[in-house]
């Protein structure tokens, strides 16, 4: 009995549990305590990364209910897309906290509602997502629903989409 216990002890002493994360070089990502976002590789911040020239004047920002309206629309678009069986998989390993912030900033910047865009450019931010045309269409439908719920006039919705549609060249990768 004693012998068996000694053998077990020896074994566990000789073979400590394998740290698989270390074996495979996985670093645990920790959310920033202030922003709640995961850290990201450094990149140059520039409003050009938003991928479109902003509207002039305040008409579009007003049509979207100002910054508060834009924030609700960006958040709602992300929530709808995360729950959308057609495209949920694309967001499965995504930092949704960061996405909501950068999407809001991008919308707010393009709608000329007084924001700077601090995210990456469209090519870099969609590089490994494997987005297809049907995925972009699904996202557009979710954005349309979010804008509709926010009471944005349809003509203003389309004007906004006219800024986003050309981004397909960087967003759709397969």
């Amino acid at each position: 009995m004693f012998l068996l216990a000694a053998v077990l002890l020896l074994q566990s002493a000789a073979e400590p549990p394998v740290d698989w994360d270390k074996e495979f070089g996985v670093e645990e990502k920790v959310r920033d305590p202030v922003t709640g976002e995961f850290p990201i590789e450094p990149y140059v911040r520039d409003n050009h990364n938003a991928g479109a020239k902003p509207f002039e004047g305040s008409a579009m920002a007003d049509a979207f209910g100002g910054r508060e309206g834009i924030r609700r629309i960006a958040d709602r678009t992300v929530d709808l897309s995360e729950a959308d069986a057609r495209i949920a998989a694309i967001f499965a390993s995504h930092d949704m906290v960061r996405l909501k912030r950068t999407l809001f900033e991008q919308f707010c910047y393009i709608l000329n509602a007084g924001c700077d865009y601090s995210g990456r450019d469209m090519a870099a931010s969609h590089k490994d997502l494997g987005v297809q045309t049907r995925d972009m269409n699904a996202l557009v439908e979710n954005l349309q629903q979010a804008m509709r719920e926010q009471g944005v006039a349809f003509s203003a919705q389309n004007r906004f989409l006219s800024k986003l549609a050309p981004m397909s060249r960087d967003v759709i990768t397969r």
Binding site: Q132, T133, R134, N158, A165, P166
Partner: protein, 296 residues
């Protein structure tokens, strides 16, 4: 007698779970992906192609994207003062790239049939087999100034060879070639289409193709402008020029104003006021068009 008692051999192994194993999750392949944006498959023309009712567009039928296959079917009635015109057909869209379609047209001549000596209610019938290939651009995405460009071929076969020859047509079969450019200008909620068509068709082919005096192809134009006031609706106008080959009857250009409504993702209903001008000596053929399209 000493009988050897053979040990009973257990029959083993055949009772294992050799039936169908629970199917592995089938790969998520949606052939009919149905992912096209609402109304961007256009509506079915009377020739069965995707377009705006009378004019063919650069759009591809069906609700598929470049990752799937789409299907579409239509039935259209055109009620005119002296004629009843119907068209029904079906089309397949492949990867939002290729469109293959078939339509059957039926022109009920009603009392005109009597006047023309064909008999009351004589119907002129033709079949239209068409193919369209999208060669460049995107209706919605990409370069905002680059339209979706498609080339098309429409082979038309009149089922009334004797009649169309009798009215002076050179042939009862003909083939149209189309080149279409279509773009949705989102900033104005406006779709614009321009199509060039090489054709010999008299009244779209219902009165045959060419004539003794005009046997050759002529270049014709189809233009459409459509405004989307809200997500499910489109209102627009179209103009389509036509050759005037036959000696016995003048032929006019066509135009229409239309309203299309996407009742669901799959069902689009279109109503239009159409002016088809003079048909077989009967002038002022203005009336209503009603069309239903079911698309997947």
């Amino acid at each position: 007698m000493d009988q050897l008692a053979f040990p009973a051999l257990g029959i083993l192994g055949f009772a294992c779970a050799c039936g169908l194993s629970p199917s592995a999750h089938a790969q998520d392949v949606d052939i009919l992906d149905g992912g096209k944006l609402l109304l961007t498959n256009g509506i079915s023309t009377i020739e069965g192609t995707s377009g705006g009712g009378l004019a063919t567009w650069g759009t591809i039928a069906g609700r598929e994207t470049d990752a799937g296959v789409g299907l579409s079917g239509h039935a259209t009635l055109v009620e005119l003062p002296d004629y009843g015109w119907t068209s029904y057909g079906t089309s397949v869209g492949l990867f939002d790239r290729v469109e293959l379609s078939y339509a059957h047209q039926n022109l009920d001549t009603r009392d005109v049939g009597t006047a023309l000596g064909l008999g009351k209610g004589y119907t002129l019938d033709q079949d239209v087999f068409a193919a369209k290939l999208r060669v460049a651009g995107d209706l919605v995405y990409g370069d905002p100034m680059l339209p979706q460009i498609a080339i098309g071929i429409e082979h038309k076969r009149s089922r009334d060879a004797a009649v169309v020859k009798a009215v002076g047509a050179a042939e009862s079969k003909g083939t149209d070639f189309t080149l279409s450019a279509t773009k949705l200008f989102l900033s104005y909620s406006l779709l614009v289409n321009a199509t060039a068509r090489l054709t010999k068709a008299n009244q779209g082919g219902l009165l045959g193709f060419g004539s003794a005096a005009n046997p050759d192809y002529a270049m014709q134009f189809e233009g459409s402008v459509a405004y989307q006031p809200f997500r499910r609706a489109v209102i627009g106008a179209e103009y389509r020029t036509k050759p005037d080959n036959l000696a016995i009857a003048r032929e006019d250009d066509w135009w229409d104003v239309f309203a299309a409504y996407a009742v669901t993702r799959n069902l689009t209903v279109t109503v239009a006021y159409v002016d088809l001008g003079s048909i077989a000596t009967f002038d002022d053929q203005r009336g209503g068009l009603l069309s239903a399209q079911l698309a997947f």
